[in-house]
Symmetry: C2
Subunit: 366 residues, 2 copies
Amino acid sequence: MKVAGQSMRSIWLEADGVGVGIIDQMRLPFELRTQRLITVEEAAHAIRAMLVRGAPLIGATAAYGMALAVRADPSDAAIAHASELLLATRPTAVNLRWAVEDLRTLLQQTPAERRVEAAYRRAGEIAEADIAMNRAIAGHGLPLISQALARKADKTRVDVLTHCNAGWLATVDWGTALAPIYLAHDEGVPVHVWVDETRPRNQGASLTAWELGQHGVPHTVIADNAGGHLMQRGRVDLCIVGTDRTTVTGDVANKIGTYLKALAAHDNGVPFYVALPSPTVDWSLADGRAIPIEERNADEVSEIAGRLDSGEIARVRVIPDGSAAANYAFDVTPAKYVTALITERGVCAASREGLLSLFPERWARP
Amino acid sequence: MKVAGQSMRSIWLEADGVGVGIIDQMRLPFELRTQRLITVEEAAHAIRAMLVRGAPLIGATAAYGMALAVRADPSDAAIAHASELLLATRPTAVNLRWAVEDLRTLLQQTPAERRVEAAYRRAGEIAEADIAMNRAIAGHGLPLISQALARKADKTRVDVLTHCNAGWLATVDWGTALAPIYLAHDEGVPVHVWVDETRPRNQGASLTAWELGQHGVPHTVIADNAGGHLMQRGRVDLCIVGTDRTTVTGDVANKIGTYLKALAAHDNGVPFYVALPSPTVDWSLADGRAIPIEERNADEVSEIAGRLDSGEIARVRVIPDGSAAANYAFDVTPAKYVTALITERGVCAASREGLLSLFPERWARP
């Protein structure tokens, strides 16, 4: 997507064919700084410290991390060590596990002298596949936006609410939830986005708003508390969110607070869509309540980062000394509150039947 | 309630019998600074700039504001001017209207030479009546907390979730939603409070957490997004919130985001209580959708105030330059999601029948 008029991706192989470029997303929206990764430890750090985040981008970064690992040491032991290191960075992200295991399996089957080339090639394929999947999601999601506009009396604007950041910064390009929005905007649909700020890490306020602004998509940042009221007053035509992990039965793990918006959408008859590339589906899991929910550092609740008038980035404490804080990173939206899933193969019901109608080959892997 | 071991109220008549003391709540939780009001303009400013907030405290401040006005000028014109000035400060607060009209009516019926004394006396009565009502709410709400504890297998802790600040800082003393919690704590019930930070103004993180901490009540601050997840996982035994305005049919206008928590409570079978002194009831309004929702300055969303490491209080910007923000202050929770109302006369259903069973004299004032 566009940044200051130029096309950009969230991860890329550098010109020397060795280093891997990423955007330090912790510095957004106030500074666009790129970083060069050259070791698996740097890749793991980038995931753990959330310089990169978003399930698909974490997967691509982990894949490139495996390539960086075998470049340093192509031994079986090094592959095993790199896999463990990367898998430990973020427990909830199913793409991370998928990418690491894909690379590990490939590399174990490849002679040591060809592992470096094979790993870089596969990491590149994973990145390209992500872009292709997201472009397909954009195509399948676009009619949902167009139809929502067509249903309105006032056809001057269609309002989409999104939570957190499921844009191109969370993937390699296009994004998942934002992909149909970018395509709609590019095709002239008058789309406006309500952007949940998404406390505690404010990925909506900092990343989604930045992405949309750079690409020229009209948007308004709101407190996470506001979406229900907007839906009650008919100001939201549809919701589109991403997911970190979706069960085969359609339960959706996504950024904390997603569930509350799904409840409000259900209560007000607003369609609630989840955009997901199929690697985000956990085909082995039937009950979202079994998804482990990462509990992160309480500092993310008790402190907020932003820009001072001076231009300096600073953290301010927002709770009294002596008060405790707790920080749950995700919640699970039961399938019954999800209107439909938008996948790279089309739109389906949030159910085992729905998903398997689009991915029938998964019948063989219960 | 207690502050550093000493009893304190949120508003008081100073020793000279003229000035009115308040706490500058904008400086909490990092600094306890009191302020002396001596003109109606200062009282109006304190309400408008939210040095005082919370429906009952706004009412008490407005009543003292009328007293300060007639002290400067006891004429009918001055009373009319003061009424208009105070009524314009916060459009949603029904207590404000109630207190101003009560004082205006009283003063119009009082000879000019006795208006100052009458106004101060009535303002004091309003403050005392608020405390008495809140103490009664505490008594009626306490069994709801005790019963929630009694229903648990693990009787070591009962978890109450609250939104925004409906504590003693929002009233004259005790608070509304927090009143039963203080009483439970004082009576030895092992109560723990999940405190929604309550963006955009963070009254939960800054005021509720400070109040509870000063009084010694165990609590944990969470992002507004987290409450649904906690309820799904059985970590919330009941919710108690306050209200700025409740219709005679039990629709509850309260801080933006309340509605989302009510939906989650309903979805998970968690009791959702609203604590309200009866002046908060709008006996003339039958449909919460008719309540005007104040839209406040977008800066409250795009900037967050807190304390830097240096100790200095600062505001940080959290959205990109060029992004718009919108700031809706309240939402309306439909009565069907409210388990019961806790009033000064007892607990009742959130309905016309429920309210009129406790306040039968209101039948005469439809």
